[in-house]
Amino acid sequence: MNKKDTILIVIVLIISIAIILGYKLFEKDGIKKALVYYENDLVLTIDLTENIEKTYYVEGYNGKVKILAGNGKVSVDEENSPLHLCSKQGYISKSYETIVCLPNKVIIKIDNIDELDAIVK
């Protein structure tokens, strides 16, 4: 193995591990909402705090997109697309994670603003 190759590999490893550790360190708690966008417009906000998973439907470019949300995470269960890469993406639960459904032009993000636990009216 070429020495220069090794240097490259080591540098790449260090950088990527450092970033990943950074993610773990700065993860915020109190994840609350999933934001669902269609063509960059916010179409649905889902409260993720319940421990019960609920089903939601959003109109995507190719038809209905079925979303499962709850328990602090959200995922796409079913959608119309050639490769179904979107429904295979699994769950996201952190504020920097995204589910991107290109054919359906749907994006799901997690909103991580430090929310209030209760409001006294």
Partner: protein
């Protein structure tokens, strides 16, 4: 060949590392929520770190507790086999009746508190409250006159508490537990949760919030709503194991001729007070918080400030009529 081996090894190591990082997860707290509607209030309860079986049992019993106090404190409805406030308000005078322990204890606590409140709180205000209610509900127009109110019987001393959960009325007073029931029930729910080792919870019963330990070793953030149309948050209280209540909510009043008339009535003037827009109390016990809150609403802010500053472990914040915020001594510890 040697070159290939080192390449392969590097590849494998990298893949394994990536997978490890990808599939490791940090702690996630699960929680269960339930929503109830009792005592005219939407109640939301969250409990953390429990398994499903415990959650089912807990929510079941919490519902039973709120339901019980809802029925017991109900002034307008009777329930089969429940000797509640409605029942008490309709029995003959000088008749001894035995009521349920829960109601007796609640009345007992309330009467004691009233007796120490310098006449500001009175659970026998039912007759006056009814007059105001008829105007508020639109049966009559405008506001009552003092004549309509002053001859109503609100003598708390005519309520006699006897042994063995028995009470009797010496006159036709009418009881109203509005200032105590919700806070008391909420405190009972809190006690119940702690008794089954659920210490991480949030109970939000309208203007009554009670929280236990935080689910992530931080502090609960409890927002206080401005008592005005905007209803945005004017103060965030940060704390654990506290009860936070507010009197003077924007929602429970009615307007006549440009003035607001609250549903809390001053036993001395027989009219709703106008000292402030709202006051919130922070302390450990939810019953005490609820009662004190009502009491402070019936005092001027200066008197209230004086009163609270003399108390240990009790804090209050006022939202005055001209939009200023006043805090009692030591309130900073919750900011």
């Amino acid at each position: 060949m040697k070159a290939y081996v080192s390449y392969i090894i590097v590849s494998i190591i990298t893949i394994v590392l990536s997978l490890l990082f990808l599939f490791s997860s940090t702690n996630k707290k699960g929680l269960y929520t339930t929503n109830l509607f009792y005592m005219d209030t939407y109640i939301n309860i969250k409990i953390y770190d429990v398994d499903e079986k415990t959650k089912d049992k807990a929510f079941d019993n919490i519902d039973k507790i709120y339901k019980k106090y809802h029925e017991l404190s109900d002034r307008y409805q009777k329930y089969d086999n429940v000797k509640n406030i409605y029942y008490i308000n309709n029995i003959d005078i000088n008749t001894e009746i035995e009521i349920e322990k829960e109601l007796y204890d609640l009345i007992d606590y309330s009467v004691s508190f009233c007796n120490q409140s310098n006449g500001l709180l009175n659970i026998a205000m039912g007759n006056v409250i009814d007059v105001w209610k008829s105007y508020r509900d639109g049966e009559k127009e405008g506001i009552p006159t003092i004549d309509e109110l002053k001859d109503k019987n609100i003598n708390l001393e005519d309520l006699v508490l006897l042994k063995n959960n028995k009470i009797l009325k010496k006159s036709n007073i009418s009881l109203d537990l509005g200032a105590f029931a919700k806070g008391y029930a909420t405190e009972e729910v809190g006690k119940y949760l702690e008794s089954i080792d659920i210490d991480k919870y949030i109970i939000n019963a309208g203007g009554n919030v009670k929280v236990g330990n935080h689910y992530n070793n931080k502090k609960y953030k409890i927002g206080l709503e401005k008592p005005t149309k905007e209803s945005d948050i004017y103060k965030v209280v940060n704390g654990n194991n506290i009860a936070v209540t507010t009197s003077g909510s924007y929602e429970r009043f009615y307007e006549y001729n440009g003035k607001s008339y609250h549903h809390i009535i001053d036993p001395n003037t027989l009219f709703p007070p106008q000292y402030m827009l709202s006051v919130s109390v922070i302390t450990n016990d939810s019953t005490y918080a609820d009662a004190l809150d009502t009491m402070l609403f019936l005092m001027s802010t200066l008197d209230g400030l004086d009163y609270v500053n003399k108390l240990d472990d009790v804090y209050a914040i006022w939202y005055t009529n001209d939009g200023k915020v006043i805090k009692s001594e030591g309130f900073k510890k919750y900011e």
